[in-house]
Amino acid sequence: MYIWFHKLGSAPTFYKWSGLWLPWLGAICFILFAAGLYSGLVYAPADYQQGDSFRIIYMHVPAAWMSMFVYVVMAVSGAIGIIWHVKLAQIAMISSAPIGFSFTVLALVTGSIWGRPMWGTWWEWGDARLMSEALLLFLYIGVIGLSIAIEDKRKAAQAVAILSLVGLINIPIIHYSVVWLNTLHQGPTVSKFDTPSIDMRMFMPLLIMALAFKLFYVVVLLLRTRNELLWRERRSQWVKNIIQGTSND
């Protein structure tokens, strides 16, 4: 198991395996997206209060979940990179930042579009989750900015790892400090899995969309990581083999 893990951590092996997985993951991701969007937009009943406009939940909530999930992945892979000096974990961390940033932007934009008919405003300063999401956006920008500013890639990886770990500790603190201010965000819809306060026909599409988003992240992460890997190892033999097409995969 340990040896398998080490093998997967080496650049050429990872490149080969991820190349094999990618089409499958992409296909499953596409199917999930199609299924989730169809069931969310057509199959799920309209909300008794919000009408059809609640359907943006199928973009908004998965994006918001992913924006936090990606940060955790980033910090954890940063820790792995710092402790065991796994190069692949460092690359995964650096590649995660722009993806997480995009999810955060998506969550903010869809939330803003949703907020307009529901709350009567595009942007509500007093809302806790909106504000902590906006601050999360700045944490992502800080991470991306730092990783660009430090030219030495190895140093940049260490710096970003430290920063994202500090950020990870701070996210709950920032979140609960913002919760302190009054809030008009609707309460969590899906907090308990046994008796969610939502119709199952509305909930299933959400779950499918969440899975689709997660797979989408994995696919994009693999693509970015493969790219970065090729660029960093551009002087090594295995990359030259791939580029010149002399390799057998």
């Binding site: 800080g142 900015g145 500013a149």
Partner: protein, 221 residues
């Protein structure tokens, strides 16, 4: 402990020799508050509700302004490298630097802040609370800031990115500190936000030196 007091003394002595560094944050702090006043021209009853936030934002900005000096001159003359390769724990050194930075900048802001709070219309008792929040809160700024400075000290234009890294992390301090004063003005007990502020202080002072020393070792290597 020896290295701690040595560095503390050295940094304070350096600050006394270069008085501009000592005065700058405080003058900046006062200026921001004056600028707020000029920009708003708010009615006194509105001003009272804004006063804690104004004072605290000015404190954040003046802390930010002075943060870059924390390690930079030591980095440039090579002293920092010597401190890190010495046998003493780096985190202790960082803690000394944090406290020196607070004494040089935060303490001045803490002493001047209540006076400006009073000028913004806070009652005498409310300024006492404001003073307490500044006393507890400004060391947190130095502690969290030390991580950001340690990460960016090796960069040529580190100052620009420093504000981006550090300001979002300052948010809890800003919220709890200004909420403390606001709750007091509103006539409620300040025990809850005040204790959270103290918790943040203990938390950041005990953890920030570790993170900052890891970042310093990265920057210097």
């Amino acid at each position: 402990m020896n290295v701690f007091t040595t560095i503390l003394k050295r940094d304070l002595l350096l600050a006394i020799r270069y008085r501009a560094e000592l005065l700058n944050p405080m003058l900046f702090f006062i200026l921001i508050i004056i600028l707020f006043q000029l920009g708003m021209r708010a009615k006194p009853e509105v001003l009272i509700t804004l006063a804690p936030a104004i004072v605290w934002i000015a404190a954040l900005l003046s802390a930010l302004l002075s943060l870059d000096h924390m390690f930079r001159s030591d980095m440039e003359d090579g002293a920092l490298e010597q401190m890190i390769i010495s046998t003493q724990p780096t985190s202790l050194l960082v803690l000394a630097k944090i406290i020196a930075h607070w004494i040089i900048t935060g303490l001045a802001v803490t002493l001047v802040g209540p006076l400006l709070g009073m000028m913004l219309g806070l009652s005498f008792d409310a300024t006492k609370i404001l003073f307490l929040t500044l006393l507890i809160g400004t060391p947190i700024l130095s502690a969290i800031g030390s991580i950001g400075v340690a990460l960016t000290v090796g960069l040529r234009r580190g100052g620009v990115i420093l504000s981006l890294l550090v300001l979002p992390l300052f948010v809890p301090v800003l919220i709890f500190a200004s909420q403390t004063v606001n709750t007091y003005v509103g006539g409620y007990s300040v025990a809850a936000p005040m204790s959270i502020l103290i918790a943040l202080l203990i938390f950041s002072l005990s953890l920030a030196p570790w993170a900052a020393s890891a970042a310093l070792r990265m920057s210097v290597s």
